[in-house]
């Protein structure tokens, strides 16, 4: 049981003296990220909603990237993934990542296709 904890986050840029202080550090970081998300969600800056990258609004890119960042720190530090063997880590993470990416790709392309069909065919939908 006597686990060795790795006590640094951000690739060693932030080191902690004990596991407890690391937990509070990660919590602070997660709070800041959530606060940024909420503030952006309320303000919705014009620059970020008007411009798109790869067909998605910049604001949505920010939200999704910040979500993945939060997910990383919850898994790595709260669920102690950082302290597990790399093979366990890969078995869990890559399985999820590949299957979920594939599922999202297929379903979103299909949803967009149906949208185009609804929009451009001769059946009236708005009545």
């Amino acid at each position: 049981m006597a686990h060795e904890h790795k006590l640094e986050i951000f690739r060693g840029a932030w080191k902690f003296k004990s596991n407890v202080s690391k937990i509070w550090g990660v919590f602070t970081f997660l709070c800041i990220v959530t606060a940024i998300e909420v503030v952006l969600g309320i303000i919705k800056p014009e620059v970020l909603t008007a411009n798109r990258f790869l067909a998605m609004k910049l604001l949505n890119w920010i939200f999704i990237i910040l979500t993945l960042v939060k997910a990383y720190y919850i898994t790595w530090d709260f669920m102690h993934m950082r302290d597990e063997t790399s093979s366990l880590r890969r078995a869990v993470v890559w399985t999820g990542v590949f299957l979920i990416c594939y599922l999202i790709l297929i379903l979103l392309i299909e949803g967009d296709y149906i949208y185009e069909v609804y929009k451009s065919n001769y059946v009236k939908f708005d009545f």
């Binding site: 407890v20 937990i23 969600g41 949505n60 997910a71 669920m79 093979s87 979103l108 967009d112």
Partner: protein
């Protein structure tokens, strides 16, 4: 547990059992298996939400306009704040959970008890907030009219502010005969819920107030709802209007497309069920800690396992928060 296992003569050998693959104990490994499969279930739900949203991308409700309530602040539009609060509560309960696990590693029983207690309280606050959010969503806000094609028409004044149907609908008293099962061809009883106003009342009120306009559920290229002018509004309401919708359920949704409500109930409900079961499991472990089960066992690994589950619930909420409320 190992008391009744027959000896095979291979103890200590690689295939003799007893060694721990990937350096994780059996229980922790199985918890990870479960978490991976549950993560795939949730991603299936969220991806199908994405599918439906892409399918009706120009008619999807804007979450900011739907979830604008905070308890005790009636009539103050405050989008996001309450969900942000719920998110913080859940993250904080994750922190107390991981502190409990840490205290367990050091065999500090009293600390484990207190941290588990705070975790349970956090989970209960979250589930309660979720219930309140559901109740507000089901009760509805302004009310709307549904067309024959199942589209939602909402009402605005000329300043672009939303107007509740209760504020303009005309009271038209009429005798309403209760429909009995024996009168119907298919023995259908009365519907269980009935709206406070009828379509006729809303229509009469709309025609009497010249400053009212109709907002459709369709969005323009800037993501704003399309607002009809007065002539178009009257024509739309008279030709297509069918029934009044107040609040949301699985069939009708005053905020927009009914699928939005369906997914909201399903995904947040499934997540809320996870939180609830997490709280129950936490309570069981909490009492086990108090009576000293793990102290005698010499290991608090059970706290770590339930902790994994609890963090997973938090992890799922991070994604639900993004895809339901932010994006």
């Amino acid at each position: 547990m190992e008391a009744t296992v027959a000896k095979t003569g291979t103890e200590g050998k690689t295939w003799g059992g007893g060694n721990r693959p990937l350096n994780a104990s059996y229980g922790k490994m199985m918890m990870w298996f479960f978490i991976v499969s549950d993560a795939l279930t949730f991603s299936g739900f969220i991806a199908s939400y994405g599918f439906s949203r892409f399918k009706f991308i120009d008619a999807w409700p804007i979450a900011d306009e739907v979830f604008t309530h905070v308890p005790f602040l009636h009539g103050v539009p405050a989008p996001m704040y309450y969900v942000a609060f719920m998110t913080l509560v859940l993250i904080f309960s994750s922190v107390t959970m991981v502190l409990a696990v840490d205290a367990g590693h050091k065999m500090q029983k009293n600390k484990v008890v207190w941290y588990m207690f705070f975790t349970i309280i956090g989970g209960a606050i979250f589930v309660g907030s979720q219930a309140w959010e559901w109740a507000t969503f089901i009760k509805g806000d302004y009310g709307a009219v549904e067309t024959k094609g199942g589209k939602i028409l909402q009402f605005l004044d000329t300043n672009g502010e939303r107007v509740a149907i209760a504020d303009f609908a005309e009271f038209m008293p009429q005798a309403r005969e209760n429909h009995l099962e024996k009168n119907g061809i298919w023995y259908e009883a009365e519907p269980e819920t009935r709206t406070n106003y009828s379509y006729e009342e809303v229509k009469a009120g709309f025609l009497a107030n010249d400053n009212l306009l109709i907002r459709t559920q369709y969005l323009d290229e800037n993501g704003e709802h399309i607002v009809l002018n007065r002539q178009e509004s009257i024509a739309k309401l008279e030709n297509d209007g069918k029934l009044v919708v107040e609040g949301a359920n699985l069939k009708h949704n005053e905020y927009g497309h009914p699928l939005f409500a369906d997914f909201f109930f399903f995904i947040t409900g499934f997540h809320g069920f996870h939180v609830f079961s997490g709280v129950v499991i936490n309570i069981i472990i909490f009492f086990n800690v108090i009576i000293g089960t793990y102290e005698r066992r010499g290991s608090y690994e059970m706290v770590e396992k339930v902790g994994l589950y609890w963090h997973f619930v938090d992890l799922v909420w991070v994604f639900v928060f993004t895809f339901f409320y932010l994006v």
